[in-house]
Symmetry: C2
Subunit: 343 residues, 2 copies
Amino acid sequence: MQHMRGRATPVALDAMGGDHAPDEIVAGAVQAVRERDVPVVLVGQPRLIHQALAAHDAVAEIPVVRAEEALAMDEGALASLRRPRSSIAVACHLVRRGDAAAVVSAGSTAGVVATGRLRLRGLPGVIRPAITIPLPTRPHPTVLLDAGANADVKPEMLVQFAHLGVAYAETALGLRRPRVGLLTIGSEAEKGSKLVKRAHELLVGTPGIEFTGNIEGHELLTGKVDVIVTDGFTGNVALKTMEGSVRYAFGQLRETINESRVAKIGGMLQRARLRDLAERLDPEAQGGAVLLGLNGTVVIAHGSSRARGVAAACELAAHLAAQGIVARISDRITSANRSHRRR
Amino acid sequence: MQHMRGRATPVALDAMGGDHAPDEIVAGAVQAVRERDVPVVLVGQPRLIHQALAAHDAVAEIPVVRAEEALAMDEGALASLRRPRSSIAVACHLVRRGDAAAVVSAGSTAGVVATGRLRLRGLPGVIRPAITIPLPTRPHPTVLLDAGANADVKPEMLVQFAHLGVAYAETALGLRRPRVGLLTIGSEAEKGSKLVKRAHELLVGTPGIEFTGNIEGHELLTGKVDVIVTDGFTGNVALKTMEGSVRYAFGQLRETINESRVAKIGGMLQRARLRDLAERLDPEAQGGAVLLGLNGTVVIAHGSSRARGVAAACELAAHLAAQGIVARISDRITSANRSHRRR
């Protein structure tokens, strides 16, 4: 590694992952370093990265670690096995070696999850890592997990996801005793699938989890709880349904405005305000998804991330690492498993 | 039964189910009869119903069938077993006897589903009935099922739901060869849960089903397919997530408008237009959910339905019955099961 700076351990940023890699990724690294004071090391093809850094006059500012291969955006879990020297695999390796504090990638979610599991390994006692997503609720985000890493789960995994989510809410959001809800199809305990009913029973008696009961789909964006636990299939469907529904609502609104000449004037007056709102709803502003439960922190930025989103993801990764989220999760899972054995 | 009119067989309307029963239900019956030319028989406590009819001067216009009991809105499946003379059970009985063409209720979904299954019975060969919901897409609604009747399903049930949904799309929407999509978490066939992957394999080879592949959450409201098949857990979560997300988007918008004095003028200009839009998104306007796969048609109106929604549900029920949806489903399932045995 060339030019690695002293002080804080840097975030390892996968320069080759994402729809706008490497240019927007490198631009995001520059923003993270210059504007957010987050040290970054870029991982990927040095020639391409140096070209992009030169455009920002930042070649001397940000170190580069070579990785000749990269996962394409349409490559999934299997490709990660075939490419042990992919940029994301090398970034994970830096974390294992202690040369980086966390990994950030805007690459394909399936590829990042598979590579992370293979290269960083799960924390002892964690059955499966989960993808954690912040939802744009007020006054602070509600955390949803699993957002897609595990399509088929067992009730015990949902309980572990609660621990992962609580550790995230404490660390990233600074909450004390975060309230946990279970996503299902009715507010009563006996409603839902067999999976959810059993998870409900387990969560009721779990020490260290402030379980407040069932949450329904229409409550996801109300801020009723701080952490929402679900399987990766339901979580991913719900998340994409939210995206699609908000887009639909604004599309309908735009159509309605354009249909009326009088309303068009009103529409013009509001355009600036709507831009503000779009900004607030923008998932990039939130920093991205986090893969929790591994022996290292992995932030998965949106595939379409531009510089700002990449910089936010780096800041989130650095913050989670500095707050020791991996150790917190490890403590929670170890003591949960110990108390479980004792029962 | 008193005053039953000749001509078309009436719709049996549960006068006691719904948040605004019996007054809004009875008002809906009056609208259905007077404005939509749909014959209705009201089922419930005669004294209450006659009082409500009197307020519309309609006592002589709409027949009443006595049912002394009713399911409360918070009562679920078990209550339907305990109340064989509930208004919804009696309404089902009228359909079995041939005295009514279909059932309409705004009662608790769980209660209506359980009562319908018990009193109307499933069609031969149908494993489980499913709740079908129209989504507000253009130019015509997309049909989603199962929206909540079956939290735990098998792949074969998802194939049957496709048949039910196609029969609905042909009957209620007049579509020919409706396109069918499977709700999952990736567009490739190998993505998703074990359940969905197996259902995908089965649907690819199903005669009579125009299966176009996987659908993701963000595509639910795009009109990409005509029928969307899913299990009742995922379907219910997705549906409620849509409701909540659209409400969230408009709430954020309202807040944004109110924050700005200039924008406030624009907001005033648009208020009338927004009301139009809300109308179009209103699930009541669509007529409600339909429980398909039973030996009779059951339309489940939204619990908060007012007169207009109840009248729309009655019209939908009458239309489905007149188009012979039960026979169409029966034909489809019979021939599907026959060709399945042949393979």
